[in-house]
């Protein structure tokens, strides 16, 4: 009696799952296409190379050179990565190879807490701690910009925001190394450090590269914490103490304002599209590396 009802419910359930799947899978394309559609007016009037590599940002005069923003983004995220690499690697090695159980448990809890902190709080912390610190360094280095709001401050803050994310990946990687491989190496008379350096790090090297690539991608897209400390000046930064203006900050600060300027909307949409493409490329590369490494296992 209930057969047909159950049948339809079953069918409904299935189609509901398929529909959600299709929506999720198509989201990146839909976002990309709508951004492309909106940035089209600028793309047809100005060659793309000129938009990317020109430093001339004068929206009121119709000049939309995005290079200062792209360059700031690259520098800030690379700085963040450079600062983050030694800390995350050292901590991951310590937590997985040397720390007694209880310390390793405490550290993991701290990392999880860090990972859960909203990035606006990291931004505030940057303003009250990092910016004054950088300002002092800038003063003693006789830098033109001594305010402390700089790409260095942004680099430090972005390193902190991405640190827990990367560290968790690294810890998982180190733990994926079988204990017996470690024992086999030690049994040949290698010291603990030789084992880590020559065998464990070598074994998971592709994974480490992938983890840092994903970290870089996250740093590239970090918005609020960065825009709070980076200074937001449209220029090509000439030192690490100079202010910068990364792409996400451009979008967050300006979208919705001055929209009467012709093609301004298009320029912002284009920078959003570029941000999206760059981040997707980073993630794609990281997954390629992981796949390559899994096939070799």
């Amino acid at each position: 009696m209930n057969f047909s009802l159950r049948y339809y419910i079953e069918k409904l359930r299935k189609s509901w799952m398929i529909i959600s799947l299709v929506i999720i899978l198509s989201l990146p394309f839909l976002i990309g296409i709508s951004l492309l559609f909106k940035s089209w007016p600028l793309l047809v009037s100005t060659p793309i190379s000129e938009i990317i590599f020109s430093s001339n940002w004068m929206p009121t005069k119709g000049n939309f050179g995005l290079w200062p923003f792209i360059f700031s983004s690259i520098v800030v995220s690379l700085l963040g990565l450079l600062i983050m690499i030694p800390f995350t690697l050292a901590s991951a090695i310590y937590i997985t190879q040397f720390a007694p159980n209880w310390i390793s448990k405490v550290l993991r809890t701290v990392i999880d807490i860090l990972a859960g902190i909203p990035s606006v709080i990291f931004g505030l912390w940057g303003i009250i701690v990092i910016v004054p610190m950088v300002s002092e360094w800038a003063t003693s280095a006789n830098s033109a910009n001594a305010s402390g709001y700089s790409i260095l401050a942004a680099g430090i803050v972005v390193a902190v925001t991405t640190l827990p994310f990367v560290l968790n990946m690294l810890i998982e990687l180190f733990e994926s190394v079988p204990r017996e491989l470690k024992e086999s190496t030690l049994a040949m008379g290698a010291s603990h450090w030789q084992t880590i350096k020559d065998v464990i790090l070598k074994k998971i090297r592709p994974g480490i590269i992938a983890a840092f690539t994903l970290g870089l991608s996250k740093a590239f897209g970090e918005t609020i914490a960065v825009l709070m400390v980076v200074g937001n000046v449209v220029q090509i930064p000439d030192s690490i103490f100079a202010a910068g203006y990364p792409l996400p900050a451009l979008l967050a600060n300006n979208y919705g304002e001055m929209m009467s300027i012709p093609k301004y909307d298009s320029a912002l949409m284009l920078s959003a599209l570029m941000l999206l493409i760059i981040v997707i490329l980073f993630n794609y590369f990281a997954h390629k590396v992981i796949r390559f490494y899994q096939s070799k296992m």
Binding site: P100, P178, E180, K182, M188, G189
Partner: protein, 272 residues
């Protein structure tokens, strides 16, 4: 090392008995107990390991065979919860004392584990790393020895054209022989083998067993196994372990024909 030094450490009586039987022992385990936290895994183990020949540690899973094996090269150090009492004498020293050079000790005790664990890198890298640890820096000599040890484990014909391939590209049986070659390259006195055929197919197992019979002319081999047939095929001397104790030990001819304890009788029964 002088003889006085020797006898002060190891029971004089044992050595005299050994010599009267024409035996030469390499490792003497004296009253060894081991705790894993609060749980005792080894109970007053007394055992001699012969030089040249295969000593089989036989027993059911979880009886402490592997733990005993790992005390020989101090891999037990990795676990801070492990505490030991008693002594293991090897080359005139008690290797359980603190002031032992564990790296040198481990180079005298080559380990072959249950599953092969090739190092990341190529087939020749695997042996090259062992040679580097041994202090051999010359590339030419390394290459010579790589060939020598791969030939020694009868793997050369199978891999000579692909030494630069990843060691993971080998079959699991070949990987195990590569690991054996790697262990031999550190020039050990003793080969510690922890159920080395348990992950292998019968043909690969047989190859490893043949290797062991050959190698037992040069090395002292301690073989951990729970396979009765394997013990019978290979053992020159057998110790049967049960719940952390060495219950019976002796030459296989005596031991397997005349089991003294009920536990061992049962094990022999079930094993057949």
């Amino acid at each position: 090392m002088s003889l006085e030094n020797n006898t002060s450490l190891i029971d004089e009586e044992i050595i005299r008995k050994d010599e009267s039987k024409g035996l030469h022992n390499l490792i003497y385990v004296k009253d060894l107990s081991l705790w894993h936290g609060k749980q005792q895994t080894l109970k007053n183990v007394e055992l001699n390991i012969r030089d040249k020949g295969i000593t089989v540690l036989l027993g059911p899973s979880g009886c402490g065979k592997t733990t005993l094996l790992k005390t020989f090269n101090r891999l037990t150090d990795l676990d801070p919860d492990i505490k030991t009492t008693g002594s293991i004498f090897f080359e005139d020293k008690d290797i359980l004392t603190k002031n032992i050079d564990v790296y040198a000790l481990r180079q005298k005790m080559g380990l072959l584990s249950q599953r092969p664990h090739p190092l990341p890198g190529t087939i020749s890298d695997n042996i090259r790393y062992a040679l580097k640890l041994k202090g051999i820096k010359s590339k030419v000599e390394q290459d010579d020895r790589i060939e020598y040890y791969i030939k020694k484990v009868a793997l050369w014909d199978e891999v000579k054209d692909r030494l630069k391939y990843s060691a993971n590209s080998l079959s699991i049986g070949q990987q195990q022989r590569l690991c054996l070659a790697r262990g031999l390259a550190i020039e050990p006195r003793v080969i510690l083998a922890d159920e080395p055929t348990s992950a292998l197919d019968p043909i690969s197992s047989r190859k490893i067993e043949e290797q062991f019979q050959e190698l037992s002319k040069e090395f002292a081999i301690v073989l951990v196994t729970h396979i009765l047939r394997q013990a019978k095929r290979l053992a020159d001397y057998t110790a049967f372990m049960y719940y952390g104790e060495v219950v019976e030990k002796g030459k296989p001819s005596d031991l397997f024909e005349n089991p003294k304890t009920e536990i061992f009788k049962d094990y022999l029964q079930v094993g057949h």
